[in-house]
């Protein structure tokens, strides 16, 4: 009743159970609580499938933040002004901080942090596909900070209405910090869009290269996406991929057009009858290719993470044994 519960697989009575094997009474009570809008906390009973899906979701989100710092980080050493350099460093630091918050939230479900890092490095855990593309010019960082972060905010604001307390609390804080990223990104884009013809061309070129990955960002279309019904009921997933993509297009296409930029899709238009955006097939084969490790930067991203993990390993190990002392041999 009182105490220090360490959540480990052996402490969880329903570890590994399928939904239909769960205690029906407990499951009904759990679903009723979510229906009433209550938050589920780490010590509460939850179906194993809920735990498993949340670990997968939050862990992927954490990995996306930590890997997501890399494409933009490419340009820290060559930012065009000192102010932009400071802003970019602050943004990258925020992203790494978000990863820490999310790893902590995932840990409350019983997966240790080292296990998550090891699974990222072995390729067992995924992260957002969009970060497997290169930031070729400074303008790429502006497009990332504006449009990729805009996508992330839509995704995170949606998820922050979810049912799992620790994840929701982390997301509230993250969304609050992301609002600076969006402003900074938009300012960088507008600066280039209102600059010299060369700066405009640089920006247009970056938009051309990032549009497809951004269309992929919310995941495959609803008719190709698996596991949703249960996750919607449990408030793990609060909007479908297509709903979030439509919301993004509604909010940002007019802003992109306002800058006089061309979106590299001749079929993109809002159907006045349905009120929905129509667009060319963004090549979902490419999406699956990149997820499965064959994107332009997958190898580099993981190599950099592994490098950081291995170079820091001795420090983490040494500090684990902080009581150990070197003793001079007696004789």
């Amino acid at each position: 009743m009182y105490g220090n519960l360490v959540i480990r697989p052996e402490d969880i009575e329903n570890w590994g159970k399928k939904v239909h094997e769960e205690d029906p009474e407990k499951l009904a009570e759990f679903e009723a609580r979510i229906e009433r809008g209550e938050k589920i906390e780490p010590q509460d009973w939850m179906p194993f499938e809920y735990r498993r899906q949340l670990i997968r979701l939050i862990e992927q989100h954490a990995h996306s933040e930590i890997i997501g710092a890399l494409p933009e980080g490419t340009w820290i050493t060559r930012a065009p002004t000192f102010r932009r350099k400071l802003a970019l460093m602050a943004k990258v630091q925020d992203e790494v901080g978000h990863a820490q918050l999310l790893y902590s939230a995932a840990e409350t479900l019983g997966k240790p942090r080292e296990a998550m890092i090891n699974d990222l490095l072995s390729g067992k855990s995924k992260y957002s596909n969009v970060f497997n593309y290169p930031a070729k010019t400074w303008a790429d960082t502006a497009i990332i900070a504006w449009l990729v972060d805009a996508g992330a905010i839509i995704n995170q604001t949606t998820n922050s209405k979810g049912s799992y307390g620790p994840y929701v609390r982390a997301l509230e804080r993250i969304c609050w910090e992301e609002s600076f990223h969006l402003k900074y990104g938009y300012d960088s884009v507008v600066y280039l869009a209102t600059g010299t013809p060369k700066q405009r061309a640089l920006l247009q070129d970056a938009l051309n290269r990032w549009w497809r990955p951004i269309m992929h960002f919310f995941g495959p279309p609803d008719n190709l996406s698996v596991h949703t019904e249960k996750l919607v009921k449990w408030k793990v997933k609060l909007a479908t991929n297509d709903e979030m993509r439509q919301q993004f297009l509604d909010m940002y296409v007019p802003k992109i057009w306002e800058l006089g930029l061309t979106i590299p899709d001749p079929n993109l238009r809002k159907n006045p009858e349905t009120g929905r955006w129509e667009y060319s097939d963004p090549n979902w084969d490419e999406f699956w290719q990149v997820i499965n490790g064959n994107g332009p930067c997958n190898k580099e991203r993981i190599a950099v993470r592994r490098f950081a993990e291995e170079k820091g390993r001795w420090v983490r190990r040494a500090l684990l044994e902080s009581q150990a002392r070197y003793v001079t041999p007696l004789a």
């Binding site: 009182y2 220090n4 490419t74 901080g97 918050l101 983490r316």
Partner: protein, 128 residues
């Protein structure tokens, strides 16, 4: 490595392989719970947790993690294992076992009524 990032080109991460095995999943630094006092005179509030090798480092990391972008006048860190808590599943612990209205303001709602009745009675007798 043909990276676009000059720092990565210099570091040559692909040439690095250490022979030490990865840390075991339970070989991590202990966790600390972090509390932030946002203004003088206010309560310190729990804001989250973090991993740190010792209390001093926990404070340093908490400053980066939880006081980086928000107002803070004081920061506390507490080893998670030092906290003794009750589970929300046991919330009935805090329900009174018997009627305890005598110790709540709501237990004293008819005082005014009694006074008014008394006044009415007094008026009635003075008219007689």
């Amino acid at each position: 490595m043909s990276s676009l990032d000059p720092r990565i080109r210099r570091a040559e991460p692909e040439l690095w392989t250490l022979s030490t095995p990865p840390l075991d999943s339970l070989e991590h630094w202990p966790t600390y719970e972090v509390f932030v006092q946002r203004m003088r005179g206010g309560h310190a509030q729990h804001v989250g947790s973090l991993h740190a090798p010792n209390p001093e480092m926990a404070l340093v990391l908490a400053k980066e993690q939880y006081a980086r972008r928000s107002q803070c006048v004081a920061l506390w860190v507490v080893p998670t294992e030092a906290i003794l808590w009750t589970s929300p599943a046991d919330e009935d612990l805090f329900q009174p076992a018997v009627d305890k209205s005598y110790r709540e303001p709501q237990g004293y709602l008819n005082t005014r009524e009694r006074l008014e009745k008394y006044r009415d009675r007094l008026q009635a007798t003075s008219h007689d």
